[in-house]
C-alpha cells in the first residue's frame, strides 16, 4: 500500500546512491519536482533511465547525480540540444557519463519485459543500425515458430521508478490521463514506485483513457502541485514553452547553469521563466 508522504521524505526513503532510477513522462506528466528533490539531496552514481531525457535530466546530469544514462532521445524538444548532457558525453563534465542508447521502441519494450516478469522482449528493429553493436542489452533471437530473426532487448527492472500523475485518492490509488506514455510499464517494471500528484482527492471521476495504478503496486505518493513544470499536466497546467527556450541559454555555460541551480533548485526559488 502506498504511503502518502512529503516529497523530500519519499525521495529519502526510496532513492539511494547508486540506484537505477527511471523517471518517465513522454512529453507530459514529467516528474520534474521529484528530480529537483534528488538534486537537493545530492544523490550520486545513479543510473538514470528515460525514453526522452529533457531539461530535468540535463539538470541531474549537470549536477553530477548520474554515472550512467539509459535513453532513446536526449534533446530540448522544439529547441535543440541539451547542453549539460552534451558536455557530460563530449568532455566528461562534471563527471564522465556512461551511456546506453536504444530506439524508443527498444527501450519501451525493455520496460514491457520488465513489467511482464519476462527476461526479454522482441521487436522487429535494430538490424542494420549502429545501435546493435553499441548496446549490450540488444541481441538477436530466432522465432521458434517461423525461423525469423528478430531483435531481443533485455528486461529492464529499475530499482525505483518515479512518475507524475494528476490525482491520487486517500488510499494511494493513482489516476492519470491524457498522454500517459510508458508510465504504467515503467512503474510495473520497478522494485519501488514513487508517484507525485497534482492533487489528492476523495473520489476519482471517470476519465476517457484514464489509467489507474492501484495503491498496492505503489510505495509512495507525494503531493507536488505543478510538479511537471515547465512541462504540463493535462487538466491542471500548460507547458511553459518560454522556459524550454530559456533553458538553452542557461545550460550553455557551466557557471550560469550552476548559479541557476543554486538559485532555483537549492535555494528553492520558484522556477518560473522571466
Amino acid at each position: 500500500m502506498a504511503k502518502i508522504q512529503g516529497l523530500a521524505q519519499a525521495i529519502e526513503d526510496l532513492v539511494h546512491d547508486g540506484d537505477c532510477v527511471a523517471m518517465e513522462g513522454f512529453t507530459h506528466l514529467i516528474p520534474v519536482a521529484a528530480g529537483h528533490e534528488i538534486i537537493r539531496q545530492g544523490r550520486k552514481d545513479l543510473t538514470l533511465v528515460r525514453l526522452t531525457p529533457d531539461i530535468v535530466f540535463d539538470q541531474l546530469i549537470g549536477m553530477g547525480c548520474a554515472k550512467k544514462l539509459v535513453f532513446g532521445w536526449g534533446g530540448n524538444p522544439g529547441v535543440g540540444s541539451l547542453h549539460r548532457f552534451r558536455d557530460a558525453i563530449e568532455t566528461g563534465w562534471p563527471v564522465p557519463l556512461e551511456i546506453e542508447e536504444h530506439s524508443h521502441a527498444g527501450l519501451t519494450n525493455r520496460y514491457v519485459a520488465g513489467a511482464s516478469g519476462l527476461p526479454f522482449a522482441i521487436l522487429r528493429g535494430y538490424f542494420g543500425t549502429g545501435l546493435m553493436d553499441r548496446t549490450e542489452t540488444v541481441k538477436t533471437v530466432q522465432c521458434p515458430f517461423t525461423g525469423e530473426k528478430l531483435a531481443a532487448v533485455a528486461a529492464l527492472n529499475p530499482d525505483v521508478t518515479i512518475i507524475h500523475a494528476q490525482q491520487a485518492d486517500r488510499a494511494g490509488n493513482v489516476l492519470m490521463w491524457g498522454i500517459t506514455g510508458v508510465n504504467k510499464e515503467a512503474a510495473l517494471a520497478a522494485t519501488r514506485v514513487l508517484v507525485t500528484v497534482e492533487e489528492i482527492v476523495d473520489h476519482f471521476e471517470p476519465r476517457p483513457g484514464g489509467v489507474v495504478l492501484p495503491t498496492w503496486v505503489i510505495d509512495a505518493v507525494a503531493k507536488a502541485p505543478a510538479g511537471a513544470y515547465p512541462s504540463y499536466t493535462s487538466g491542471y497546467s500548460d507547458r511553459d514553452n518560454a522556459a524550454y527556450v530559456a533553458w538553452d541559454a542557461v545550460s550553455r555555460d557551466r557557471d550560469t547553469f550552476r548559479q541557476w541551480i543554486e538559485e532555483h533548485i537549492v535555494q528553492g526559488a520558484p522556477a518560473v521563466s522571466s
Binding site: F26, G75, P77, L82, R86, E90, A105, G130, I179, R239
Partner: protein
C-alpha cells in the same frame, strides 16, 4: 522559425524551408495515415490537411492517433494533439501495434547526415565514444525507417548533410544496396522520396542509390552536384518542381501564424 506575419511583410515569395514543406505536403496527397514529428514534417502534414487531403490521419509518437490540431504543435506531446485525437494510446502500443505492424502508410524522418542509400545519422558527429557533436539520438527513427510502409526524408543538401560515409548509422534506408532490407526482415519499402532545399531524390529501382529526379525552380544541375560529395545520379528526364502556389503559401502562412497563439 520566424512568424508567418513577419515573413509575409518581409517577402511575398518563399524560402527553401517553404519549398520543402510544400513539396512534402504535396507528397501526402491522397494518403491515409502519416506518422509525424515536430518541425517541417508536422507543418507539411497539417498543410496537406488544410489543402488537398483533409482526412489525412496524423499519428504522433506520443500516442495520439488522428490528431486534428487547430494550431501547430510545439512538441509531439502537445496537449492539443491529445485533445483533438481520435484515440490516445500508450507508447508501447504506438510502436508495437501501429508502427511495427505496418499500419502507418508514410513516416517522415530527418537527420544530421544521410548517405547515398538514404541511411541516416542522428546520433553523433565524429567518433561515437568521443563525439565532436553529440546529437539527440535515435528516438523513434529506427522503427519508422523499418516498418512504415514508405518513408519521406526531409534534409538540406550540402557537404555537411550529404556524406560518403555516415559517422553512425542510426536508422536504415537501403543499407549497402539491394537486398539488405529484406535480409533484415523489414517490411516497409524504405525511403521512397528525399526532399531537399534543392530538389527531390528517389531510390533507383535497380541499385537503390538515390537519384536526383526533380530540381526546385532556380536550381541547376551544377549546383546540386556541387552540394553532393559523391557522383550524384541524375534522372534522364529531370523535372522542375512547381513553386508553391499562392493558395499553398497563404495556407502555410496561416498555419505558421497559429504557432504564436
Amino acid at each position: 522559425m520566424s512568424t508567418g506575419a513577419a515573413r509575409i511583410e518581409q517577402s511575398p515569395g518563399y524560402d527553401p524551408d517553404d519549398m520543402m514543406i510544400v513539396a512534402a505536403a504535396r507528397a501526402l496527397r491522397g494518403r491515409r495515415v502519416c506518422f509525424v514529428g515536430i518541425g517541417l514534417p508536422s507543418t507539411a502534414a497539417n498543410l496537406a490537411r488544410a489543402t488537398h487531403t483533409p482526412d489525412l490521419v496524423l499519428v504522433y509518437e506520443s500516442g495520439t492517433i488522428g490528431a486534428k490540431p487547430t494550431r501547430l504543435p510545439l512538441s509531439i506531446g502537445d496537449g492539443e494533439l491529445a485533445e483533438t485525437a481520435d484515440s490516445v494510446v500508450s507508447v508501447p502500443e504506438i510502436f508495437n501495434y501501429w508502427v511495427q505492424a505496418g499500419r502507418i502508410e508514410v513516416g517522415f524522418l530527418s537527420a544530421a547526415q544521410m548517405d547515398r542509400y538514404a541511411n541516416l545519422n542522428s546520433t553523433a558527429i565524429g567518433d561515437y565514444d568521443h563525439p565532436s557533436v553529440r546529437l539527440p539520438g535515435a528516438g523513434g527513427a529506427p522503427e519508422i525507417a523499418a516498418s512504415c510502409r514508405e518513408v519521406i526524408v526531409l534534409i538540406r543538401q550540402s557537404h555537411r548533410t550529404f556524406v560518403e560515409r555516415l559517422d553512425f548509422r542510426t536508422s536504415v534506408g537501403f543499407g549497402e544496396g539491394p537486398g539488405d532490407r529484406a535480409r533484415w526482415g523489414y517490411r516497409g519499402a524504405g525511403p521512397t522520396l528525399v526532399i531537399t532545399d534543392l530538389g527531390l531524390l528517389r531510390p533507383d529501382p535497380e541499385t537503390c542509390e538515390l537519384t536526383m529526379t526533380d530540381l526546385h525552380r532556380g536550381v541547376d544541375v551544377d549546383r546540386v552536384r556541387a552540394a553532393t560529395p559523391w557522383d550524384l545520379a541524375m534522372a534522364k528526364d529531370l523535372k522542375i518542381t512547381e513553386p508553391p502556389s499562392a493558395e499553398e503559401l497563404t495556407r502555410l502562412r496561416a498555419l505558421q501564424a497559429t504557432q504564436d497563439r
